[in-house]
């Protein structure tokens, strides 16, 4: 009974996790929900687990539940992998925005520099206007 309650709690947690994953990775949400619901069913209707286990060539119903748990773990790992990819997407967008902003900034800085360039040789360069000095 204790094992049943513990597995029920864990599988309920997986169901909640699957629901939250469904928004970003629908396939993981669907598969994890299916596996968790199957697990919950077999935890409480063990004779069906034993019958199905015998049918598919697994020794005991409890082994079937362990296998289901392994499948859920693999799905969670896949979900984590996909979440890392989503994070990389966000990092990419951030890095792109930073890179483009910096390039535009250096282009803007380069324009006044080019404007100041013409200086008559043999004459002292005139001081730049006060407002551009203030910007620096």
């Amino acid at each position: 009974m204790i094992a049943q309650l513990l597995l029920t709690a864990l599988l309920t947690f997986v169901l909640v996790y699957a629901w939250s994953a469904h928004r970003t990775v629908p396939i993981i949400g669907l598969l994890a929900s299916g596996a968790a619901l199957a697990g919950l069913y077999f935890v409480w209707v063990q004779e069906h687990a034993t019958a199905l286990a015998a049918l598919v060539g697994i020794g005991r119903g409890s082994d079937l539940i362990v296998y289901i748990w392994v499948v859920i773990s693999l799905l969670i790992m896949l979900n984590l992998h996909l979440k890392l990819r989503l994070q990389l997407d966000m990092i990419t967008r951030l890095a792109r925005a930073v890179a483009i902003d910096r390039a535009k900034e250096s282009q803007r800085e380069a324009v006044p520099r080019r404007k100041r360039r013409p200086v008559v040789l043999g004459r002292k360069a005139e001081a730049p206007p006060i407002d551009s000095q203030a910007k620096k």
């Binding site: 970003t24 990775v25 629908p26 396939i27 993981i28 896949l78 992998h81 996909l82 990819r85 989503l86 990389l88 997407d89 990092i91 990419t92 890095a95 792109r96 930073v98 890179a99 483009i100 910096r102 390039a103 535009k104 282009q107």
Partner: protein, 229 residues
């Protein structure tokens, strides 16, 4: 630059290409085109060399991959009101002489993409047999996946109108972006043509190019991308 294209930009994604990027940019500049080089977090002087050669340099703070760099260059060029964009490799295997033909192709009414093809002329030099087999497999996969009757895939030399560039949004950071572009072209229902181009493989460019093991990574990237939004 005749016809309706007034402001074409060439986008070059570069990662640790300091030995060659200067001559690549100089060649493009001599041909009369504006160039944006996206320095993808290089550890060498790629950005500085490109800048000295006359390119606008956009620097990724970290290395993200060629696909990410191309999208950054496309975004930057569109912000500069580019009306046509050409993607061009940084390793020196493309020739600026191919650019006018690509631009001429997208000047035709209703055409938004011109894709360079190595296999339309058969004049591509020094293509090793292993690379040819790899490209054939990629071509078969791309045709099956996108339904586009292309003759070349993973060719970095291509041109697009501003409308075409806005229709694609690369989310494949690494090499799978070449397949992703074709997939997005197919989805956008915009029209494309293929233009024969010559690719000059050198020891340098072959050393930097894709290997057979990269094909597996590309397949994994493409599959994983379909699993999430």
């Amino acid at each position: 630059m005749t016809g309706r294209i007034r402001n074409p930009w060439v986008v070059v994604a570069a990662y640790n290409e300091a030995p060659v990027v200067g001559s690549v940019v100089s060649g493009i500049r001599r041909a009369g085109y504006a160039v944006v080089v996206v320095d993808d977090g290089s550890g060498d002087r790629t950005g500085d060399v490109a800048s000295l050669a006359g390119a606008v340099v956009v620097r990724h703070p970290i290395n993200l991959g060629q696909g990410a760099a191309l999208q950054t260059g496309i975004d930057y060029a569109l912000e500069q009101r580019a009306d046509a964009l050409v993607t061009f490799d940084a390793d020196g295997q493309h020739s600026p002489a191919a650019i006018p033909a690509l631009l001429a192709a997208i000047e035709q009414p209703g055409i938004d993409f011109a894709l360079g093809s190595r296999f339309l002329t058969g004049a591509t030099a020094n293509l090793p047999m292993s690379r040819r087999l790899l490209l054939s497999a990629a071509l078969w996969f791309t045709r099956a996946n996108t339904g586009l009757p292309v003759t070349d895939t993973h060719n970095g030399l291509r041109a697009m109108t501003a409308r075409g560039a806005r229709a694609i949004s690369l989310r494949q950071n690494r090499m799978a972006h070449a397949s992703e572009i074709l997939h997005q072209i197919a989805q956008s229902r915009l029209r494309f043509v293929e233009v024969p181009v010559n690719i000059e493989y050198s020891a340098y460019s072959l050393g930097k190019g894709q290997r057979i093991t990269d094909a597996l990574t590309i397949l994994i990237d493409l599959f994983a991308r379909r699993l999430y939004r």
